[in-house]
Amino acid sequence: MIIEARELRKTFTTRSRKGSQTVEAVRGIDLDVEKGEIFGVLGPNGAGKTTTIRMLATLITPDSGTAVIAGHDLRAEPGAVRRKLGYVSQAGGVEDTTSARAQIMMAARIHDVADPRQATADVLERFDLTEMADRPGRTLSGGQKRRVAIALGLVHAPPLLFLDEPTTGLDPQNHANLWDRIRQLREAGTSVLLSTHYLDEADVLCDRLVIVDHGRIVAEGTPGELKREVSGDVVTLRLDEPERAAEALRPLAREVRVDEDALRVYVDDGEHTLPALLRLLEEHGIALRSIALDRSTLDDVFLAKTGRSLRDTGAAA
């Protein structure tokens, strides 16, 4: 276990002319992140994702709760925790006037990397940044800047990397490119904790994830588990005798519903149920006109748990 957090809480007090206001940003979050996995924190804006990551990164102190990160207690040994971390904030942390190379070299030196020059060259190469390594930060494109930001967090080869909304503000091509690079981290054995409000990002990238809303975890599991738990997959069949087919398929399904001439069969795992389903129809001699398998999305999970759609919270996906 690389992160083991229990009951983390954080309340902010904001003072304005109208008096002070308290916001319970995080209301008791537990996280268990295994070594080497990509773990996601999915939720709408303002759900407490960034606050959670900032607490785990030693930037803000939790009001209560405990966390052990890479074997070190968050409160007792923040210094030891910092040595094990790479942290890429939403803003990125790329400076405007200095070159990517100078910034990464500085990060390497702070972390006491044995050969900062070589480590910098390696990480620049790995993120295809060698060509623009000596240009000032402000001249880089959004996607390049984001890659520099991640390179800055990785130059000291930390066992754990925090990525706060890594693809926010990037165009779709850059999303896919960045996802590939994040997946390569898993192959290199780096554990990743990433926050996102993009459903597809959480689905495609994360080994396991938690869905958070209003500072609480509303669901936890692998993307597949979560989707199965809530609504499973749905197989839509068009056939001549829907009533008879419904009877025949009931043992395989969680729920069977006849909609006019279509039969909707809710199953836990569509891919693996499909062959058996087809076999059963064959055995009963029922003729099939068409068949479609639709997967439930993480948005269905969010909807089931919170009563709202993540798409409606202003977080486009």
Partner: protein
């Protein structure tokens, strides 16, 4: 600790000099003041020669660079707050005070370069100063600059906004400048101004600087200025380091 301080100071210096035009402008400014302001002051100074005017104005311009050059250095910190790099350093194993102190140290190095340039110009124009006095003037200037730089970093981390920061600085700059007798000696001021001038710490620094340039080593303004600015510099430096906690617990 020290290693990180050196690391950050070097990094900030490299950043400042990566585009040599800006620091050059910064260095030229006090020289321009000296060349263009001293002749204007000639008729106001007892004695009436340019050298007499310079003897009044050189220490004042040195203190001015020390305060006003360093007061603006906090703007860089606001930019870094915004682009997230300050946060990045706060999560690194860097010794946290070094993140701010590196900037303060960079300001000191720039200050010394500027001071030497000003002195060279002043000497070229006929001003003479003794060795002990020279060292003391530079030390006083460093303490003044340390105070201003610490104040600026602390202010930047507190205000966190370029607009608010420049408004705040502007508000304080004019009264502090005039009440220190930087350009026009305070002896020309009306009674009420002369009465409140000693409240302004910069007034003492300028007085001490003038005493040093005049070779009056026993002048009481010298120990007063040193005591005042060492205390102030320590206070603002501590404040600036503590202000870093606002971005990182």
């Amino acid at each position: 600790m020290i290693r990180h301080l050196v690391l950050f100071t070097g990094y900030e210096l490299k950043k400042s000099f990566s585009n040599p035009v800006w620091p050059l402008f910064g260095i030229l400014q006090p020289v321009l003041y000296l060349l263009m302001f001293a002749p204007l002051l000639k008729d106001l100074t007892p004695g009436g020669s340019t050298v007499d005017a310079l003897r009044m104005f050189t220490p004042a311009s040195m203190m001015m660079i020390a305060v006003f050059g360093s007061l603006f250095s906090g703007f860089g910190l606001i930019a870094e707050l915004r682009n997230g790099s300050l946060e990045r350093y706060a999560v690194s194993p860097a010794w946290r005070p070094a993140i701010v102190l590196g900037r303060v140290a960079k300001d000191m190095v720039v200050l010394v370069c500027q001071a030497i340039l000003v002195l060279v110009v002043a000497v070229a124009m006929g001003v003479r100063i003794g060795g002990v006095e020279l060292v003391l003037v530079l030390a006083l200037m460093a303490a003044t600059g340390l105070f201003a730089s610490g104040l600026s970093q602390g202010l930047a981390l507190t205000v966190r906004d370029e607009n608010g920061m420049s408004q705040t600085l502007n508000l304080f700059m004019l009264p502090i400048m005039l009440l220190a007798g930087l350009f026009i000696p305070i002896s020309f001021a009306p009674g009420w101004m002369r009465a409140i001038a000693p409240v302004n710490p910069l007034y003492h620094a300028v007085e001490a600087g003038r005493a040093l340039f005049a070779g009056r080593l026993g002048d009481p303004s010298i120990p007063i200025a040193f005591a005042l600015f060492i205390v102030l510099a320590v206070l603002t430096t501590i404040w600036s380091m503590r202000s870093l906690r606002r971005i990182a617990g």
